[in-house]
Protein backbone atom coordinates (compact mmCIF):
# COMPACT_ATOMS: atom_id res chain seq x y z
CA UNK A 1 0.00 0.00 0.00
CA UNK A 2 1.15 3.49 -0.65
CA UNK A 3 1.81 5.80 2.22
CA UNK A 4 -0.58 8.72 2.25
CA UNK A 5 -0.03 12.40 2.62
CA UNK A 6 -0.22 13.80 6.14
CA UNK A 7 -3.70 14.53 7.35
CA UNK A 8 -4.92 16.54 10.24
CA UNK A 9 -5.93 14.82 13.40
CA UNK A 10 -8.97 12.72 12.85
CA UNK A 11 -11.63 12.19 15.43
CA UNK A 12 -13.63 9.05 15.41
CA UNK A 13 -16.98 9.37 17.04
CA UNK A 14 -18.41 6.41 18.75
CA UNK A 15 -21.37 4.87 17.12
CA UNK A 16 -22.70 1.77 18.69
CA UNK A 17 -23.69 -1.19 16.66
CA UNK A 18 -25.68 0.33 13.92
CA UNK A 19 -27.07 -0.79 10.70
CA UNK A 20 -24.62 0.09 8.04
CA UNK A 21 -26.63 -2.04 5.72
CA UNK A 22 -26.96 -0.81 2.23
CA UNK A 23 -30.25 0.81 1.67
CA UNK A 24 -31.35 0.20 5.18
CA UNK A 25 -33.44 2.68 6.99
CA UNK A 26 -30.83 2.69 9.61
CA UNK A 27 -30.11 4.77 12.56
CA UNK A 28 -27.83 4.43 15.53
CA UNK A 29 -29.13 2.15 18.15
CA UNK A 30 -27.91 0.02 20.94
CA UNK A 31 -26.65 -3.40 20.19
CA UNK A 32 -29.35 -5.97 20.06
CA UNK A 33 -28.97 -9.40 21.42
CA UNK A 34 -30.12 -12.46 19.62
CA UNK A 35 -33.23 -12.89 21.65
CA UNK A 36 -36.90 -12.44 21.13
CA UNK A 37 -36.60 -9.06 22.77
CA UNK A 38 -35.09 -7.92 19.53
CA UNK A 39 -38.46 -7.13 18.10
CA UNK A 40 -38.86 -3.51 18.96
CA UNK A 41 -41.11 -1.08 17.27
CA UNK A 42 -41.45 2.61 17.03
CA UNK A 43 -45.06 3.50 17.02
CA UNK A 44 -46.51 6.42 15.22
CA UNK A 45 -50.03 7.16 14.24
CA UNK A 46 -50.56 6.22 10.66
CA UNK A 47 -52.64 8.37 8.43
CA UNK A 48 -56.06 6.95 8.08
CA UNK A 49 -59.09 7.90 6.10
CA UNK A 50 -61.73 9.91 7.85
CA UNK A 51 -64.08 6.98 7.97
CA UNK A 52 -61.60 4.40 9.16
CA UNK A 53 -60.91 3.89 12.81
CA UNK A 54 -57.65 5.37 13.94
CA UNK A 55 -55.04 2.70 14.39
CA UNK A 56 -51.48 2.67 15.45
CA UNK A 57 -48.84 0.66 13.75
CA UNK A 58 -45.09 0.62 13.98
CA UNK A 59 -43.46 3.30 11.87
CA UNK A 60 -40.32 1.25 11.95
CA UNK A 61 -39.10 -2.02 13.34
CA UNK A 62 -35.72 -3.31 14.33
CA UNK A 63 -34.68 -6.48 12.64
CA UNK A 64 -31.25 -7.99 12.41
CA UNK A 65 -29.77 -4.92 13.96
CA UNK A 66 -31.27 -2.59 11.42
CA UNK A 67 -34.09 -0.17 11.85
CA UNK A 68 -36.37 -0.52 8.89
CA UNK A 69 -39.43 1.53 8.13
CA UNK A 70 -42.73 -0.20 7.82
CA UNK A 71 -43.17 1.50 4.48
CA UNK A 72 -40.10 -0.21 3.14
CA UNK A 73 -41.21 -3.60 4.41
CA UNK A 74 -44.55 -3.09 2.75
CA UNK A 75 -42.81 -2.15 -0.46
CA UNK A 76 -40.84 -5.39 -0.30
CA UNK A 77 -44.05 -7.36 0.12
CA UNK A 78 -45.82 -5.36 -2.58
CA UNK A 79 -43.00 -6.18 -4.98
CA UNK A 80 -43.86 -9.85 -4.63
CA UNK A 81 -47.47 -9.21 -5.53
CA UNK A 82 -46.42 -7.11 -8.49
CA UNK A 83 -44.07 -9.84 -9.66
CA UNK A 84 -46.76 -12.48 -9.25
CA UNK A 85 -49.09 -10.37 -11.30
CA UNK A 86 -46.52 -10.05 -14.07
CA UNK A 87 -45.42 -13.69 -14.04
CA UNK A 88 -48.49 -14.95 -15.83
CA UNK A 89 -47.61 -13.04 -18.97
CA UNK A 90 -43.99 -11.96 -18.60
CA UNK A 91 -41.67 -14.02 -16.43
CA UNK A 92 -38.72 -11.83 -17.32
CA UNK A 93 -40.50 -8.75 -15.98
CA UNK A 94 -41.49 -10.68 -12.88
CA UNK A 95 -37.88 -11.68 -12.30
CA UNK A 96 -36.75 -8.08 -12.65
CA UNK A 97 -39.38 -6.87 -10.24
CA UNK A 98 -38.50 -9.61 -7.77
CA UNK A 99 -34.81 -8.84 -7.91
CA UNK A 100 -35.10 -5.08 -7.72
CA UNK A 101 -37.96 -4.66 -5.27
CA UNK A 102 -38.04 -7.68 -3.01
CA UNK A 103 -34.99 -9.92 -3.13
CA UNK A 104 -32.64 -8.00 -0.88
CA UNK A 105 -35.37 -7.12 1.56
CA UNK A 106 -36.32 -10.76 1.90
CA UNK A 107 -32.80 -11.51 3.05
CA UNK A 108 -33.15 -8.82 5.68
CA UNK A 109 -36.50 -10.13 6.87
CA UNK A 110 -35.13 -13.66 6.97
CA UNK A 111 -32.22 -12.51 9.05
CA UNK A 112 -34.56 -10.72 11.40
CA UNK A 113 -36.71 -13.82 11.72
CA UNK A 114 -33.62 -15.92 12.29
CA UNK A 115 -33.20 -14.22 15.63
CA UNK A 116 -36.75 -14.69 16.86
CA UNK A 117 -38.28 -17.58 14.94
CA UNK A 118 -35.78 -19.71 13.09
CA UNK A 119 -38.36 -22.07 11.58
CA UNK A 120 -40.18 -19.06 10.15
CA UNK A 121 -36.90 -17.83 8.70
CA UNK A 122 -36.38 -21.24 7.16
CA UNK A 123 -39.85 -21.24 5.65
CA UNK A 124 -39.28 -17.82 4.13
CA UNK A 125 -35.89 -18.73 2.68
CA UNK A 126 -37.21 -22.00 1.31
CA UNK A 127 -40.11 -20.22 -0.39
CA UNK A 128 -37.69 -17.68 -1.79
CA UNK A 129 -35.41 -20.45 -3.05
CA UNK A 130 -38.38 -22.02 -4.81
CA UNK A 131 -39.01 -18.81 -6.71
CA UNK A 132 -35.35 -18.43 -7.58
CA UNK A 133 -35.31 -22.02 -8.74
CA UNK A 134 -38.26 -21.24 -10.99
CA UNK A 135 -36.37 -18.37 -12.55
CA UNK A 136 -33.22 -20.45 -12.98
CA UNK A 137 -35.08 -23.36 -14.50
CA UNK A 138 -37.26 -21.25 -16.80
CA UNK A 139 -40.43 -22.48 -15.12
CA UNK A 140 -43.78 -21.69 -16.68
CA UNK A 141 -45.32 -18.39 -15.78
CA UNK A 142 -48.19 -20.00 -13.96
CA UNK A 143 -45.79 -21.89 -11.72
CA UNK A 144 -43.76 -18.77 -11.05
CA UNK A 145 -46.90 -16.84 -10.16
CA UNK A 146 -48.03 -19.55 -7.79
CA UNK A 147 -44.68 -19.70 -6.04
CA UNK A 148 -44.48 -15.93 -5.80
CA UNK A 149 -47.89 -15.86 -4.16
CA UNK A 150 -46.79 -18.51 -1.71
CA UNK A 151 -43.70 -16.47 -0.96
CA UNK A 152 -45.90 -13.43 -0.50
CA UNK A 153 -48.01 -15.24 2.06
CA UNK A 154 -44.94 -16.48 3.91
CA UNK A 155 -43.52 -12.97 3.91
CA UNK A 156 -46.78 -11.62 5.24
CA UNK A 157 -46.66 -14.13 8.08
CA UNK A 158 -43.06 -13.31 8.80
CA UNK A 159 -43.72 -9.59 8.94
CA UNK A 160 -46.59 -10.22 11.33
CA UNK A 161 -43.96 -11.39 13.81
CA UNK A 162 -42.72 -7.82 13.76
CA UNK A 163 -46.23 -6.44 14.13
CA UNK A 164 -46.19 -5.26 10.55
CA UNK A 165 -49.31 -6.02 8.58
CA UNK A 166 -49.30 -6.15 4.82
CA UNK A 167 -52.07 -6.75 2.36
CA UNK A 168 -52.46 -10.05 0.64
CA UNK A 169 -51.89 -10.03 -3.09
CA UNK A 170 -55.03 -9.11 -4.99
CA UNK A 171 -56.82 -12.02 -6.56
CA UNK A 172 -56.05 -12.56 -10.20
Amino acid sequence: MARPNPLAAVTFAALAIVAAGCGSDDQPEAATSTTAAQVTTTTAAETTTSTAPTTTAPASVTMAGQTVTTARLRAIAAGLCEAAQQAGTDVSAAKHTFNTKSHDGLHLIARGLQDIDRPASATLLEAKQKVEGDFSNAAAGEQVATDLRTLSEVTKSGLARFNVSVDACPAT
Binding site: F12, V18, D104
Partner: protein, 338 residues
Protein backbone atom coordinates in the same frame (compact mmCIF):
# COMPACT_ATOMS: atom_id res chain seq x y z
CA UNK B 1 -9.22 19.07 13.88
CA UNK B 2 -11.46 17.38 11.44
CA UNK B 3 -14.15 15.14 12.75
CA UNK B 4 -14.58 11.74 11.18
CA UNK B 5 -17.47 9.89 12.73
CA UNK B 6 -17.07 6.26 11.85
CA UNK B 7 -19.89 3.85 12.13
CA UNK B 8 -19.44 0.27 12.95
CA UNK B 9 -20.67 -2.48 10.81
CA UNK B 10 -23.68 -4.29 12.16
CA UNK B 11 -22.43 -7.09 14.30
CA UNK B 12 -23.91 -10.14 15.82
CA UNK B 13 -23.58 -10.19 19.56
CA UNK B 14 -20.35 -11.80 20.50
CA UNK B 15 -18.75 -11.70 17.13
CA UNK B 16 -15.18 -10.62 17.23
CA UNK B 17 -14.90 -9.96 13.58
CA UNK B 18 -16.58 -7.85 11.02
CA UNK B 19 -19.89 -9.27 10.01
CA UNK B 20 -20.96 -10.54 6.70
CA UNK B 21 -21.38 -8.09 3.97
CA UNK B 22 -24.52 -9.95 3.24
CA UNK B 23 -26.12 -8.33 6.16
CA UNK B 24 -24.47 -5.08 5.47
CA UNK B 25 -25.40 -5.12 1.85
CA UNK B 26 -28.77 -6.57 2.52
CA UNK B 27 -30.59 -3.43 1.60
CA UNK B 28 -28.47 -2.31 -1.33
CA UNK B 29 -30.77 -1.03 -3.94
CA UNK B 30 -33.50 -3.20 -2.59
CA UNK B 31 -35.89 -0.55 -1.52
CA UNK B 32 -37.68 1.91 -3.64
CA UNK B 33 -38.67 4.19 -0.85
CA UNK B 34 -36.49 6.99 -1.94
CA UNK B 35 -38.47 9.63 -0.16
CA UNK B 36 -38.87 7.99 3.18
CA UNK B 37 -38.03 10.01 6.21
CA UNK B 38 -35.12 8.37 7.90
CA UNK B 39 -35.47 9.81 11.35
CA UNK B 40 -31.87 9.14 12.12
CA UNK B 41 -30.26 10.80 15.06
CA UNK B 42 -26.86 10.14 13.59
CA UNK B 43 -25.35 13.36 12.38
CA UNK B 44 -22.55 11.77 10.43
CA UNK B 45 -22.47 12.18 6.73
CA UNK B 46 -22.78 8.46 6.26
CA UNK B 47 -26.30 8.04 7.54
CA UNK B 48 -28.55 10.54 5.90
CA UNK B 49 -30.57 9.59 2.89
CA UNK B 50 -29.14 10.50 -0.46
CA UNK B 51 -25.57 10.37 0.75
CA UNK B 52 -22.91 7.86 -0.01
CA UNK B 53 -22.60 5.15 2.61
CA UNK B 54 -20.48 2.08 2.89
CA UNK B 55 -19.96 -1.18 4.71
CA UNK B 56 -17.05 -3.50 5.20
CA UNK B 57 -17.68 -6.71 3.29
CA UNK B 58 -14.74 -8.74 4.55
CA UNK B 59 -14.73 -11.44 7.21
CA UNK B 60 -12.01 -12.52 9.55
CA UNK B 61 -9.55 -9.69 8.97
CA UNK B 62 -6.27 -10.16 10.81
CA UNK B 63 -2.78 -8.83 11.17
CA UNK B 64 -0.49 -10.16 8.49
CA UNK B 65 0.56 -9.83 4.90
CA UNK B 66 -1.69 -8.03 2.42
CA UNK B 67 -4.99 -9.74 1.84
CA UNK B 68 -8.21 -8.77 0.13
CA UNK B 69 -10.24 -6.09 1.88
CA UNK B 70 -13.72 -5.34 0.51
CA UNK B 71 -15.98 -2.36 0.97
CA UNK B 72 -19.47 -2.00 -0.46
CA UNK B 73 -20.67 1.49 -1.28
CA UNK B 74 -24.13 2.81 -2.02
CA UNK B 75 -26.50 5.71 -1.87
CA UNK B 76 -29.70 4.76 -0.19
CA UNK B 77 -31.74 6.81 -2.58
CA UNK B 78 -29.87 6.00 -5.76
CA UNK B 79 -28.59 2.46 -5.45
CA UNK B 80 -25.36 0.56 -5.21
CA UNK B 81 -22.17 2.16 -6.48
CA UNK B 82 -19.91 0.28 -8.84
CA UNK B 83 -17.14 0.54 -11.37
CA UNK B 84 -14.27 3.00 -11.48
CA UNK B 85 -12.21 2.95 -8.32
CA UNK B 86 -12.55 3.91 -4.68
CA UNK B 87 -9.76 5.44 -2.67
CA UNK B 88 -9.33 3.85 0.75
CA UNK B 89 -7.74 5.46 3.79
CA UNK B 90 -7.25 3.36 6.90
CA UNK B 91 -6.91 4.65 10.45
CA UNK B 92 -6.01 2.62 13.51
CA UNK B 93 -8.50 3.39 16.25
CA UNK B 94 -7.40 1.06 19.04
CA UNK B 95 -9.60 -0.61 21.57
CA UNK B 96 -12.87 0.81 20.29
CA UNK B 97 -14.36 2.83 17.51
CA UNK B 98 -14.43 5.77 19.88
CA UNK B 99 -11.56 8.13 20.30
CA UNK B 100 -9.20 10.20 18.30
CA UNK B 101 -6.67 9.20 15.75
CA UNK B 102 -4.04 11.75 14.98
CA UNK B 103 -1.76 12.04 12.02
CA UNK B 104 -2.02 10.58 8.58
CA UNK B 105 -3.86 7.42 7.73
CA UNK B 106 -1.99 4.26 8.62
CA UNK B 107 -2.34 3.14 5.04
CA UNK B 108 -4.07 3.88 1.79
CA UNK B 109 -5.12 1.75 -1.14
CA UNK B 110 -7.09 2.00 -4.33
CA UNK B 111 -10.11 -0.26 -4.40
CA UNK B 112 -10.89 -1.94 -7.71
CA UNK B 113 -14.48 -2.86 -8.47
CA UNK B 114 -15.44 -6.50 -8.12
CA UNK B 115 -18.39 -7.21 -10.35
CA UNK B 116 -20.34 -10.11 -8.94
CA UNK B 117 -20.85 -13.10 -11.16
CA UNK B 118 -24.34 -13.73 -12.40
CA UNK B 119 -25.32 -10.17 -13.10
CA UNK B 120 -25.26 -8.32 -16.35
CA UNK B 121 -22.12 -6.19 -16.67
CA UNK B 122 -22.72 -2.54 -17.35
CA UNK B 123 -22.20 -1.80 -21.02
CA UNK B 124 -21.55 1.92 -20.78
CA UNK B 125 -18.55 3.82 -19.48
CA UNK B 126 -17.16 1.88 -16.54
CA UNK B 127 -14.10 4.02 -15.96
CA UNK B 128 -15.87 6.02 -13.25
CA UNK B 129 -18.18 5.04 -10.41
CA UNK B 130 -21.86 4.87 -11.32
CA UNK B 131 -25.10 3.80 -9.68
CA UNK B 132 -26.19 0.27 -10.40
CA UNK B 133 -28.92 -2.20 -9.62
CA UNK B 134 -26.33 -4.95 -9.54
CA UNK B 135 -24.35 -5.08 -6.33
CA UNK B 136 -20.61 -5.30 -6.11
CA UNK B 137 -17.79 -4.21 -3.87
CA UNK B 138 -14.52 -2.38 -4.08
CA UNK B 139 -11.53 -4.49 -3.11
CA UNK B 140 -7.85 -3.90 -2.48
CA UNK B 141 -5.05 -5.91 -0.95
CA UNK B 142 -4.39 -4.38 2.42
CA UNK B 143 -2.07 -5.29 5.28
CA UNK B 144 -2.98 -4.44 8.85
CA UNK B 145 -0.07 -4.22 11.24
CA UNK B 146 -1.86 -4.35 14.57
CA UNK B 147 -5.03 -5.80 16.01
CA UNK B 148 -7.90 -3.67 17.17
CA UNK B 149 -10.49 -1.38 15.72
CA UNK B 150 -9.75 0.30 12.43
CA UNK B 151 -11.58 2.96 10.52
CA UNK B 152 -11.90 3.25 6.78
CA UNK B 153 -12.73 6.38 4.83
CA UNK B 154 -13.54 5.45 1.25
CA UNK B 155 -13.98 8.02 -1.46
CA UNK B 156 -15.61 7.66 -4.85
CA UNK B 157 -15.99 10.29 -7.52
CA UNK B 158 -19.70 10.37 -8.20
CA UNK B 159 -22.50 12.91 -8.46
CA UNK B 160 -20.08 15.53 -9.64
CA UNK B 161 -17.34 15.18 -7.08
CA UNK B 162 -15.71 13.11 -4.38
CA UNK B 163 -18.06 11.47 -1.89
CA UNK B 164 -16.81 9.78 1.25
CA UNK B 165 -18.19 6.92 3.31
CA UNK B 166 -16.75 5.65 6.55
CA UNK B 167 -16.95 2.58 8.65
CA UNK B 168 -15.26 0.92 11.59
CA UNK B 169 -14.16 -2.69 11.67
CA UNK B 170 -12.09 -5.08 13.73
CA UNK B 171 -8.79 -6.69 12.90
CA UNK B 172 -7.80 -9.75 14.88
CA UNK B 173 -4.36 -10.91 15.93
CA UNK B 174 -4.76 -14.05 13.86
CA UNK B 175 -7.24 -15.40 11.34
CA UNK B 176 -9.86 -17.58 12.95
CA UNK B 177 -10.73 -19.45 9.77
CA UNK B 178 -7.99 -21.31 7.84
CA UNK B 179 -5.99 -18.81 5.82
CA UNK B 180 -3.31 -18.84 3.16
CA UNK B 181 -0.47 -21.11 4.23
CA UNK B 182 -2.52 -23.08 6.72
CA UNK B 183 -2.97 -26.80 6.35
CA UNK B 184 -6.37 -27.76 4.95
CA UNK B 185 -8.61 -29.67 7.33
CA UNK B 186 -9.18 -33.22 6.08
CA UNK B 187 -12.92 -33.15 6.56
CA UNK B 188 -15.18 -36.08 5.91
CA UNK B 189 -17.81 -33.97 4.14
CA UNK B 190 -21.04 -35.49 2.95
CA UNK B 191 -21.04 -36.75 -0.61
CA UNK B 192 -23.62 -38.18 -2.98
CA UNK B 193 -22.68 -41.64 -1.74
CA UNK B 194 -22.56 -41.00 2.00
CA UNK B 195 -24.93 -43.57 3.47
CA UNK B 196 -28.03 -41.98 4.94
CA UNK B 197 -27.04 -38.40 4.12
CA UNK B 198 -30.19 -36.28 3.71
CA UNK B 199 -30.17 -34.47 0.35
CA UNK B 200 -30.72 -31.11 2.03
CA UNK B 201 -27.61 -31.66 4.15
CA UNK B 202 -25.61 -32.18 0.97
CA UNK B 203 -27.02 -29.05 -0.63
CA UNK B 204 -29.76 -26.98 0.98
CA UNK B 205 -31.45 -26.59 -2.41
CA UNK B 206 -32.10 -30.31 -2.52
CA UNK B 207 -34.82 -32.36 -0.86
CA UNK B 208 -36.43 -35.74 -1.15
CA UNK B 209 -38.24 -34.35 -4.19
CA UNK B 210 -35.53 -32.12 -5.62
CA UNK B 211 -32.18 -33.58 -6.64
CA UNK B 212 -28.86 -32.08 -5.62
CA UNK B 213 -28.31 -29.43 -8.29
CA UNK B 214 -24.53 -29.77 -8.57
CA UNK B 215 -23.73 -33.43 -7.94
CA UNK B 216 -20.29 -32.95 -9.45
CA UNK B 217 -19.38 -30.93 -6.35
CA UNK B 218 -20.25 -33.80 -4.05
CA UNK B 219 -18.25 -36.68 -5.44
CA UNK B 220 -15.39 -36.90 -2.97
CA UNK B 221 -14.43 -35.97 0.53
CA UNK B 222 -11.84 -33.38 1.28
CA UNK B 223 -9.95 -36.02 3.25
CA UNK B 224 -9.81 -38.23 0.18
CA UNK B 225 -8.72 -35.45 -2.15
CA UNK B 226 -5.98 -34.39 0.24
CA UNK B 227 -4.82 -37.99 0.65
CA UNK B 228 -4.55 -38.22 -3.13
CA UNK B 229 -2.61 -34.94 -3.14
CA UNK B 230 -5.11 -33.27 -5.45
CA UNK B 231 -5.57 -29.52 -5.62
CA UNK B 232 -9.00 -28.60 -4.35
CA UNK B 233 -11.44 -25.76 -4.84
CA UNK B 234 -13.66 -25.82 -1.78
CA UNK B 235 -16.82 -23.76 -1.46
CA UNK B 236 -18.59 -23.65 1.89
CA UNK B 237 -22.02 -22.15 1.45
CA UNK B 238 -25.72 -22.58 1.98
CA UNK B 239 -27.58 -21.53 -1.15
CA UNK B 240 -31.03 -21.70 0.43
CA UNK B 241 -30.39 -20.46 3.95
CA UNK B 242 -27.92 -17.79 3.00
CA UNK B 243 -28.47 -14.44 4.61
CA UNK B 244 -25.50 -12.86 2.85
CA UNK B 245 -27.10 -13.11 -0.60
CA UNK B 246 -23.90 -14.35 -2.17
CA UNK B 247 -23.99 -18.08 -1.43
CA UNK B 248 -25.98 -18.94 -4.51
CA UNK B 249 -23.87 -16.93 -6.97
CA UNK B 250 -20.61 -18.08 -5.39
CA UNK B 251 -21.67 -21.72 -5.46
CA UNK B 252 -22.73 -21.33 -9.08
CA UNK B 253 -19.37 -19.78 -9.92
CA UNK B 254 -17.52 -22.76 -8.46
CA UNK B 255 -19.86 -25.18 -10.24
CA UNK B 256 -19.20 -23.41 -13.53
CA UNK B 257 -15.45 -23.55 -12.99
CA UNK B 258 -15.71 -27.25 -12.23
CA UNK B 259 -17.08 -27.83 -15.70
CA UNK B 260 -13.96 -26.38 -17.25
CA UNK B 261 -11.22 -27.29 -14.81
CA UNK B 262 -12.18 -30.69 -13.42
CA UNK B 263 -8.91 -32.01 -14.84
CA UNK B 264 -6.91 -29.60 -12.68
CA UNK B 265 -8.51 -29.84 -9.28
CA UNK B 266 -11.20 -31.50 -7.25
CA UNK B 267 -14.23 -29.27 -6.72
CA UNK B 268 -16.08 -29.71 -3.47
CA UNK B 269 -19.11 -27.97 -1.99
CA UNK B 270 -19.74 -28.25 1.73
CA UNK B 271 -23.28 -27.26 2.68
CA UNK B 272 -23.20 -25.23 5.88
CA UNK B 273 -26.34 -26.63 7.48
CA UNK B 274 -27.45 -30.16 8.12
CA UNK B 275 -30.54 -28.86 9.93
CA UNK B 276 -31.07 -25.13 9.69
CA UNK B 277 -34.08 -25.28 11.99
CA UNK B 278 -32.27 -26.90 14.90
CA UNK B 279 -32.03 -24.83 18.05
CA UNK B 280 -28.28 -25.03 18.64
CA UNK B 281 -25.44 -24.24 16.31
CA UNK B 282 -23.98 -27.65 17.11
CA UNK B 283 -27.09 -29.31 15.75
CA UNK B 284 -27.50 -26.91 12.85
CA UNK B 285 -24.12 -27.31 11.20
CA UNK B 286 -22.67 -30.05 9.10
CA UNK B 287 -19.56 -31.41 10.79
CA UNK B 288 -17.31 -30.38 7.92
CA UNK B 289 -18.65 -26.83 7.92
CA UNK B 290 -18.17 -26.62 11.66
CA UNK B 291 -14.57 -27.75 11.31
CA UNK B 292 -13.84 -25.05 8.77
CA UNK B 293 -15.84 -21.97 9.64
CA UNK B 294 -17.52 -22.17 13.06
CA UNK B 295 -15.47 -20.00 15.37
CA UNK B 296 -18.05 -18.43 17.63
CA UNK B 297 -21.76 -18.27 18.31
CA UNK B 298 -22.55 -17.73 14.65
CA UNK B 299 -21.11 -18.57 11.26
CA UNK B 300 -20.30 -16.39 8.31
CA UNK B 301 -20.55 -17.61 4.77
CA UNK B 302 -19.90 -18.17 1.94
CA UNK B 303 -16.22 -19.05 1.69
CA UNK B 304 -14.07 -20.37 -1.13
CA UNK B 305 -10.69 -21.96 -0.47
CA UNK B 306 -8.16 -23.01 -3.05
CA UNK B 307 -5.95 -25.76 -1.70
CA UNK B 308 -2.71 -26.88 -3.29
CA UNK B 309 -1.55 -30.40 -3.92
CA UNK B 310 0.60 -30.03 -0.82
CA UNK B 311 -2.53 -29.71 1.28
CA UNK B 312 -2.09 -26.07 2.15
CA UNK B 313 -4.50 -23.21 1.52
CA UNK B 314 -3.18 -21.13 -1.36
CA UNK B 315 -6.07 -18.67 -1.63
CA UNK B 316 -9.06 -17.76 0.48
CA UNK B 317 -12.12 -15.77 -0.54
CA UNK B 318 -14.54 -14.59 2.10
CA UNK B 319 -18.12 -13.62 1.29
CA UNK B 320 -17.53 -12.87 -2.37
CA UNK B 321 -15.56 -14.91 -4.87
CA UNK B 322 -15.61 -14.19 -8.54
CA UNK B 323 -14.63 -16.23 -11.55
CA UNK B 324 -12.14 -13.52 -12.45
CA UNK B 325 -10.33 -14.11 -9.17
CA UNK B 326 -10.40 -17.92 -9.05
CA UNK B 327 -9.88 -18.85 -12.68
CA UNK B 328 -6.28 -17.55 -12.98
CA UNK B 329 -5.33 -19.75 -10.03
CA UNK B 330 -6.75 -22.79 -11.78
CA UNK B 331 -5.06 -21.94 -15.04
CA UNK B 332 -1.72 -22.13 -13.28
CA UNK B 333 -2.34 -25.67 -12.10
CA UNK B 334 -1.00 -28.55 -14.19
CA UNK B 335 -3.44 -31.14 -15.40
CA UNK B 336 -3.84 -33.92 -12.88
CA UNK B 337 -2.53 -37.37 -13.66
CA UNK B 338 -4.39 -40.51 -12.91
Amino acid sequence: MRSHPFRTAPMRAGLAVVVAAGLMLSGCGGGDDKNEAKGSADTSTTTAANTVQGSVASYDLAVGPPSRFMFGMYNEGKGAIGYGTAEFKFFFLGASCSGTATGPPAATATGRYLHLDGGTPHTGDTSKPIYLEQKGVYAADVAFDKPGNWGIAATVDIDGGPKEAKSCFKVGEKHLVPAVGDAAIPSQNLTMTTPGAPPEAIDSRASAQTPVPDPELHQTTLAQALAEKRPVVLVISTPTYCVSQFCGPVTDTVADLAKTYSDRARFIHIEVFKNYKATTLQDQLNDAAREWIARGPDVQEPWVFVIGADGKVTARFDNIATRAEIEPLLQKLPKMKG
